[in-house]
């Protein structure tokens, strides 16, 4: 019955092309809701029982395709459903201005793909059969591709979309090769479960590396991340939120799924994941700091958070390899919880920046400023997202980072020298990432919402509609809920970690810390409240004036120009890490003879060194090579006949000397 509902809901997606424009969002929401309810029901059932939930979905060329939901899949199902529902709710208001620009069928196509992105993501985590998995993985990439190129009238968007599509197929190729290698070399069935046989007889690192390349492109590990900073800004905000919130996590899911089958050589794999993740985390946030495009900045910050998740997982694997139970359990627990947490605050940040984009029509934060008066609710929500993403208490991001830190500190004494080095690296890495994240988000929040406006983009902005704000409040509440009552999550989290480590008591023992953290957060809020009351009492009979900001006795300055911009705020980091952030300044020097200077302009451009050296430069070289070869393409029939003749003569000569 429930499987039938799932099938029907997926099939009903085609009706979207036939329903009237006005009802379309409602129908999408209903279908997304149905899918979410059914799959969440399965997921909860899987959480409740010790057994793995399994049912047949369909047959693919006489080959059964089963839905298999263990606790890991169940966790991902819940995360996917949550973010897609908020994204769909949000899309109504966000897409409203586009209904006049786009034809009805274009809008239907968009919603159709949104629905398919949802169902394909769900099926990705439910399928174990390799063929079905690869097909649905491809469908997911296609659906997201069409969602990204929603504004296809812009040439740039199409270019980015194609780039995304190509990179996804390179990823798919790696995963395909990995599955084929495993199946051929071990003779086991072409499925995830077949990997068990392969890994029990072969050294796992090579095959794991193939999987890591394939899934890592989706997840955005440095240096495989180059599609992210382009695709996220190009896509509409609800799509960016869903893609960054959950779709890239499915890359992590793939890596985690493969890890469940590996039982040997874990040390090398763990260290590999840890080192890649540390680089990903630190570079992601450093590059994020110098961005001016808010969505590009958020995309780089997603890369950073993938790094944090990877640090947790890598430490978990190191802990398993070195038999440090506490590191294994808490590393995985922190990494997994951060998947959920990041899906919440990153979607919140993308949606709120969508609000800003809808009202101001620019993503360049240096054109914004002082929006707090015009969009007060968006301001608060963005602030909540920023605090959460910096991992500050009492918000949810802190809880997952705290779990990882706990694993690190607790395992220091018991570990041998070799793991201790990596534990120290983990501590330093997390601390540096945390500090940089604060730098990054104080910059972006204050440049967009605080101070005074920097251009007339903000003149006509106003708070967005209630239908757009509702899902955001929902996410905000969840963020606070996880941040303030984290002890409730420890039990389910322990169940998921059990899939990897086989022991869990350490996670549930975190309950004491979590309760005390909760009390401390309560004290924090209470003190703020009391002080607020005290201040209103104290100030009651005093003179409270309002005046312009004190300009240090200098009154000639234009406040909008005088204040710090995003580029000036980031300049410190640019000076510290010039090799990484690759910022170019464009300006003309003053000539010595120039007594009356002409008007000048100054611009800074940031580029991603990985993209430059790994993608753009090789691609340009290839193109140049191709251009040279193109001299043969003259368009004259005589020349082509000549080529054929030359070819025949060469073959003839080779045959004469018995080469072939």
């Amino acid at each position: 019955m429930d499987v039938l509902i799932f099938k029907i809901a997926v099939l009903l997606s085609f009706t979207l092309f036939f329903v009237p424009q006005k009802a379309r969002h409602l129908v999408t929401l209903l279908l997304v809701g149905t899918l979410a309810v059914v799959t969440s029901y399965w997921a909860v059932q899987s959480f409740m029982s010790v057994e793995v939930w399994e049912k047949n979905l369909m047959y693919l060329v006489d080959h059964p395709v089963n839905i298999i939901i263990d606790k890991l899949s169940a966790f991902f199902i819940l995360v996917i459903n949550l973010t897609v529902i908020t994204g769909t709710l949000y899309s109504k208001g966000y897409l409203k201005p586009y209904t006049t620009l786009k034809t009805s069928q274009e809008m239907a196509w968009h919603y159709f793909n949104l629905l398919w992105l949802h169902s394909s993501m769900l099926m990705v985590v439910m399928f174990r059969d390799a063929l079905a998995f690869l097909i649905i993985w491809e469908l997911m990439s296609l659906a997201s591709f069409f969602l990204v190129i929603f504004e296809s009238e812009k040439k740039e968007t199409i270019r980015i979309g194609i780039q995304y599509l190509i990179q996804m197929h390179i990823g798919l190729l790696f995963i395909l090769i990995a599955f084929v290698v495993a199946a051929v070399q071990s003779g086991a069935p072409f499925s995830f479960d077949g990997l068990e046989v392969y890994f029990s007889t072969h050294s796992p690192f090579g095959l794991f590396l193939l999987f890591f390349m394939g899934f890592g492109i989706k997840a955005g590990f440095v240096p495989l991340h180059t599609w992210l900073p382009h695709a996220h800004p190009a896509a509409p905000s609800h799509v960016s939120g869903i893609m960054s919130g959950v779709m890239i996590k499915l890359g992590i899911y793939g890596i985690l799924r493969v890890l469940t089958y590996i039982h040997t050589d874990l040390m090398m794999i763990g260290i590999f994941i840890l080192l890649v993740s540390l680089v990903t985390g630190v570079l992601g946030v450093t590059i994020a700091i110098v961005q001016r495009d808010v969505k590009k900045l958020l995309a780089y910050s997603s890369i950073e958070n993938i790094g944090i998740i990877g640090i947790g997982i890598g430490l978990g694997v190191v802990g398993m390899a070195a038999d440090i139970h506490v590191l294994a359990a808490l590393g995985f627990a922190g990494g997994l919880l951060h998947i959920l947490n990041h899906s919440l605050f990153k979607s919140l940040l993308f949606y709120t920046s969508g609000n800003v984009y809808q009202q101001t029509h620019t993503r360049n934060i240096d054109y914004l400023g002082g929006l707090h008066g015009k969009m007060p609710r968006t301001t608060v929500l963005f602030l909540v997202g920023s605090l959460a993403i910096c991992g500050l208490p009492p918000f949810n991001g802190f809880v997952s980072e705290f779990l990882i830190y706990s694993g690190l500190f607790k395992s220091l004494q018991g570990a041998e020298l070799f793991p201790v080095i990596f534990i120290l690296l983990g501590i330093v890495g997390l601390a540096v990432i945390g500090g940089l994240a604060v730098f990054c988000f104080t910059k972006v929040f204050s440049t967009i919402f605080l101070g005074t406006s920097r251009s007339d983009h903000t003149v006509h902005s106003a708070e967005v509609s209630k239908s757009m704000l509702f899902p955001l409040w929902l996410i905000g509440l969840l963020i606070l809920f996880i941040g303030c009552a984290p002890f409730l999550l420890m039990r389910p989290l322990a169940d998921i970690v059990y899939v990897f480590t086989g022991h869990t008591q350490l996670i549930t023992s975190m309950g004491h810390s979590m309760t005390n953290m909760c009390i401390a957060s309560g004290v924090l809020v209470a003190v703020v409240g009391l002080l607020w009351l005290l201040r209103s009492r104290v100030q009651k009979n005093k003179v409270i004036q309002h005046n312009v900001t004190w300009g240090c006795a200098y009154t000639g300055a234009n406040a909008a120009v005088h204040q710090y911009s995003s580029a000036s705020y980031a300049d410190n980091i640019r000076q510290l890490a010039p090799g990484v952030v690759g910022v170019k300044k464009e300006y003309k020097h003053f000539e010595e003879t120039e007594i009356f200077p002409s008007p000048r302009s100054f611009d800074t451009l940031s580029s991603d060194i990985f993209e430059d050296h790994l993608i753009t430069k090789p691609a340009n070289k290839l193109l140049k090579g191709m251009a040279r070869i193109a001299v043969f393409q003259t368009g004259k029939t005589q020349h082509y006949l000549l080529y054929a003749l030359v070819f025949l003569i060469v073959i003839l000569l080779l045959t004469l000397v018995n080469w072939i």
Binding site: G370, P393, Y405, A431, G434, G451, L576
Partner: protein
């Protein structure tokens, strides 16, 4: 469990800035101000009205309160004289560091909220310095966790005392790093000069330029308590827990007074770093912390030398 630590820290915090002021006057040969002078200043501020910039939002109003509340909440974890803090739990040191970061986050955005270039400059520097100093704190605490096997402030400090003679090695380098972390976190010399009169070279002072009245008073109090908290960490390093309680408390105040005195002395003779040398200087703390960590590895016999 006791609220002893909170009371002691607050009492020490009241005298702390007074002692620094007295020491500075003594060195330059001025008549010494009363030890309560800073307290009188704050009381005067509380009596005054306030002026708010029209550019500012709720963030500006909220920030000093959050700043105070975070520092207050981080007091709850600190043990004193072998007495547990009110809330002691595993890894409370992580919570401690992130709690203080929350306060800083708010002070930074509050400075940006005024839309002033000067305050932006201060906010920007504060964000950079606190980012750079973070690893030093975590590595130092990591060394302690490695040495003792515990992860809460209470357990760390009680067992680092009774462990072995080697504690002193870790104790000394740990105290050294902590003193300078305290200098950076509280915007004192050599990173920031609280006496400077030029806004361009300020860090913390310029961030709070637009605050007045109650808010400014609260910010001052918060900085005192913050300083006192770091000094408490230092005294926890030094004081053996098996001494009698009264004697420990006396020593606690002595250490607070000595640290304040030394600070006044240092600030009278030392000049501030060149601003662009600050990042290097702060990173040096992490380097020393790593050396401490290596020493701990040797003491814990993870690295075997022969």
């Amino acid at each position: 469990m006791s609220i002893l630590s909170i009371i002691l820290i607050i009492v020490a915090a009241v005298f702390f800035p007074g002692i620094i002021g007295m020491m500075k006057s003594l060195v330059v040969g001025r008549k010494m101000p009363s030890i309560f002078q800073p307290l009188f200043d704050v009381i005067r501020l509380f009596k005054k009205g306030s002026i708010y910039s029209t550019t500012t939002s709720f963030v500006f109003r909220l920030a000093p309160l959050v700043y105070f509340a975070t520092v207050f909440a981080s007091m709850l974890f600190l043990p004193i004289a072998g007495e547990r803090g009110l809330l002691t739990f595993d890894n409370d040191l992580v919570f401690f560091a992130y709690m203080l970061a929350l306060g800083k986050f708010f002070m930074i955005i509050a400075a940006m909220d005024t839309g002033s270039g000067f305050e932006g400059m201060g906010a920007n520097r504060e964000a950079l310095y606190s980012m750079l100093v973070e690893p030093a704190f975590f590595i130092t605490m990591g060394s302690l966790a490695l040495f003792t096997g515990y992860t809460s402030f209470y357990d760390l400090f009680t067992s680092v005392q009774i462990n072995t003679d080697f504690s002193y090695i870790i104790g000394i380098s740990g105290v050294y790093v902590l003193i300078f972390i305290a200098m950076v976190e509280n915007s004192r010399l050599p990173v920031d000069d609280p006496r400077t009169h030029l806004e361009l070279t300020m860090v913390h002072e310029v961030m709070v330029l637009d605050y007045s009245g109650f808010d400014l008073g609260l910010i001052h109090i918060t900085s005192w308590i913050k300083f006192s908290i770091y000094t408490t960490l230092i005294s926890n390093f030094l004081l053996p827990v098996d001494w009698p309680l009264g004697f420990q408390i006396a020593c606690f105040f002595l250490i607070q007074a000595v640290v304040a005195g030394v600070m006044g002395l240092l600030e009278s003779f030392r000049a501030r770093n060149k601003l662009d040398k600050n990042p290097q200087w702060i990173l040096m703390l992490s380097a020393i912390a790593i050396v401490t960590f290596l020493a701990t590895l040797i003491i814990a016999e993870k690295i075997v030398l022969n």
